[in-house]
């Protein structure tokens, strides 16, 4: 009956056809525009995870295959010996007494994988706890008492202030001054960070969750918590002269030597917040008198180079949590998860270069 390619209703006038086709076009373009808007293509100035990582690359340059932050590191294996004390706080399968396999990574903050170790460099410990029911608990902790800022937006401004000026090759001090003046809260946090006790190395250092998380018990009660890995190794002050000038890897070499001497141990201490304690601001410490529970011991008995360990190709996203532990309203947690994902996606697609701490360095 009909042979036409398109059987336009003959009762419609040509004008009506044009208007109707235009309407359809408008609907389709509108839907596509909505999609592009959701993707952020109409708001290029908004801070996104890609822009956060772009800023890291402007500060540090791009090192193929390396993390965009905490680039210099070494990996390890060990276990977490749970003592059962955590069961009253959370139903997570990590807390009943028992031994849980762990892999992880020690690192220095900053995006330069070959930077020389220095006493004041911020150190970090990342962990993957492999729970008996197949769940995971990933952590990325740093050795600061608080995080310098509350939000990723503030963090990005601070990071941008540290982009080297092309003229001088150094960050513009006026920009950092402007950031500090515009963020009085950050001044308080930076004061706490600068007055912290700095230990001699990785093994005698305390690593903190910094962000607040929620523990949920079997009765459905939820409590805000922060935690710290407190070393059993006794605290030693750093040497007076910066040993990084003689041995660019002195912090890592000391860690390798210590683990070769014997397993290194930390106690996982969970601190419980009380009503009124800030859960959404990692730049504010909780009062010292809060109840703390020692829930077990982390034992590290083997150091591995990045080339050898699965921890190199692992995203230590702090929002990967077992049932019984959840993110709080701390805005940094979602933002960290988003930014880590971009860093991970970029580096996994790039050729890998040897790490500063090579397999030979670990085994020598």
């Amino acid at each position: 009956m009909k042979q036409d390619l398109l059987n336009i209703d003959p009762k419609l006038s040509p004008t009506a056809v044009v208007l109707r086709v235009a309407l359809i076009g408008g609907i389709l373009v509108g839907a596509a525009a909505l999609f592009a808007y959701a993707r952020g293509w109409f708001t290029p100035r908004a801070l996104t995870q890609d822009r956060v990582i772009d800023t890291f690359q402007k500060v540090n340059g791009v090192y193929s295959g390396f993390r965009r932050n905490h680039a210099k590191g070494v990996c390890f294996r060990g276990w977490f010996e749970s003592n059962g004390n955590g069961v009253e706080l959370s139903k997570a399968a990590v807390f009943p007494a028992g031994r849980i396999p762990v892999i992880g990574r020690f690192s220095l903050a900053g995006g330069q994988p070959y930077v020389a170790d220095a006493p004041t460099a911020v150190r970090a410990m990342a962990l993957q706890l492999q729970l008996p029911n197949g769940e995971e608990w990933r952590m990325a902790m740093i050795d600061l008492p608080v995080f310098p800022v509350q939000t990723m937006q503030q963090f990005a401004v601070q990071l941008e202030a540290s982009i080297p000026d092309p003229a001088t090759g150094k960050p513009d001090p006026a920009k950092m001054k402007a950031f500090v003046e515009a963020n009085p809260d950050a001044t308080r946090a930076l004061g706490l960070i600068q007055s912290r006790a700095i230990s001699s190395g990785f093994a005698d250092d305390t690593y903190r969750s910094v962000n607040t998380f929620l523990f949920r018990d079997r009765q459905g009660r939820t409590i805000p918590v922060r935690w710290a890995m407190i070393p059993e190794q006794s605290f030693q002050p750093p040497p007076k002269d910066d040993p990084g000038k003689a041995d660019a890897n002195y912090l890592f070499d000391a860690l390798i030597a210590a683990v070769r001497q014997g397993p290194q141990r930390w106690r996982l201490v969970v601190t419980i917040g009380e009503p009124g304690d800030p859960t959404n601001d990692a730049s504010i410490p909780w009062p010292d008198d809060r109840r703390s529970v020692d829930v077990g011991t982390l034992v590290i008995d083997r150091i591995e180079s990045e080339a050898e360990s699965p921890a190199r190709d692992m995203n230590f996203d702090p929002t990967i949590l077992p049932e019984g532990i959840a993110v709080s309203d701390d805005p940094l947690l979602s933002a960290r998860s988003a930014a880590y994902s971009v860093s991970f996606t970029r580096r996994e697609g790039e050729p890998k270069k040897p790490s500063a701490i090579t397999t030979a360095e670990v085994e020598k």
């Binding site: 009956m1 009909k2 042979q3 036409d4 390619l5 398109l6 059987n7 336009i8 209703d9 009762k11 419609l12 056809v17 109707r20 086709v21 309407l23 359809i24 609907i27 389709l28 839907a31 596509a32 909505l34 999609f35 959701a38 993707r39 952020g40 708001t43 908004a46 801070l47 996104t48 995870q49 890609d50 956060v52 399968a93 029911n133 197949g134 769940e135 995971e136 990723m152 699965p310 190709d313 995203n315 929002t319 990967i320 077992p322 049932e323 993110v327 805005p331 947690l333 979602s334 933002a335 998860s337 988003a338 930014a339 994902s341 991970f344 996606t345 580096r347 996994e348 697609g349 890998k352």
Partner: protein, 197 residues
């Protein structure tokens, strides 16, 4: 219904699956692009994206089986032979993407050494070994396929709107959730070999 007249609507399960999955897939695509550009909601959106993707995969497999088992209404006579070929091809592409996208997502998380978390303590096993290059390839593929799926859906919606507003053959009645008596002035041709949903 008189059993000798050909059906004019898709079977009830087909129609329910179509509209349920239309809502889920559009929500999924918007969540997917929004989470790539959101620091504040990233964690929340990803936590929905994973189980919703697996739910779409399960429904897509059910739908494919249903597609094979049920008799389809014939193409309306207002669809020309080239239109029928295009409709059949785009249907195959939509089915392929509905199944491939969640599988690529699952495989990508496996290759990235991520736990494939659903809800509570429930998680899925990895379907691929952890491998950086494989992860990067699948991560890129996931985005490309998602944009292709969105474009294919737009083309599908555009074609249906054209038939509804310009050809005016009441083509939407075929997929309406409510029963529709045959009211089109045009005759229905006998079932052809190329049918589409």
């Amino acid at each position: 219904m008189n059993p000798t007249t050909p059906r004019t609507q898709f079977a009830v399960p087909s129609r329910i699956l179509h509209w349920l999955m239309a809502v889920m897939i559009l929500a999924m695509l918007f969540i997917g692009v929004a989470m790539m550009a959101s620091l504040a909601d990233y964690h929340r959106l990803v936590a929905i994206h994973r189980p919703l993707g697996i739910a779409i995969l399960i429904l897509a497999v059910i739908r494919l089986i249903n597609r094979r088992l049920t008799k389809l209404p014939p193409f309306p006579p207002t669809m020309s032979p080239p239109e029928r070929v295009l409709a059949s091809l785009s249907e195959k592409l939509l089915y392929a993407l509905m199944i491939a996208l969640p599988l690529v997502g699952w495989g990508m998380l496996s290759a990235g050494d991520y736990p494939v978390q659903m809800f509570g303590a429930l998680h899925l096993p990895p379907i691929l070994p952890a491998h950086p290059t494989l992860f990067a390839f699948l991560r890129g593929t996931h985005s490309v396929l998602a944009y292709l799926l969105f474009a294919t859906i737009l083309a599908h919606v555009g074609a249906v709107l054209f038939h509804t507003l310009v050809v005016r053959d009441r083509i939407l009645n075929r997929m309406a959730l409510w029963p529709v008596r045959k009211t089109s002035s045009t005759q229905t041709q006998p079932s052809s070999s190329h049918e589409t949903e």
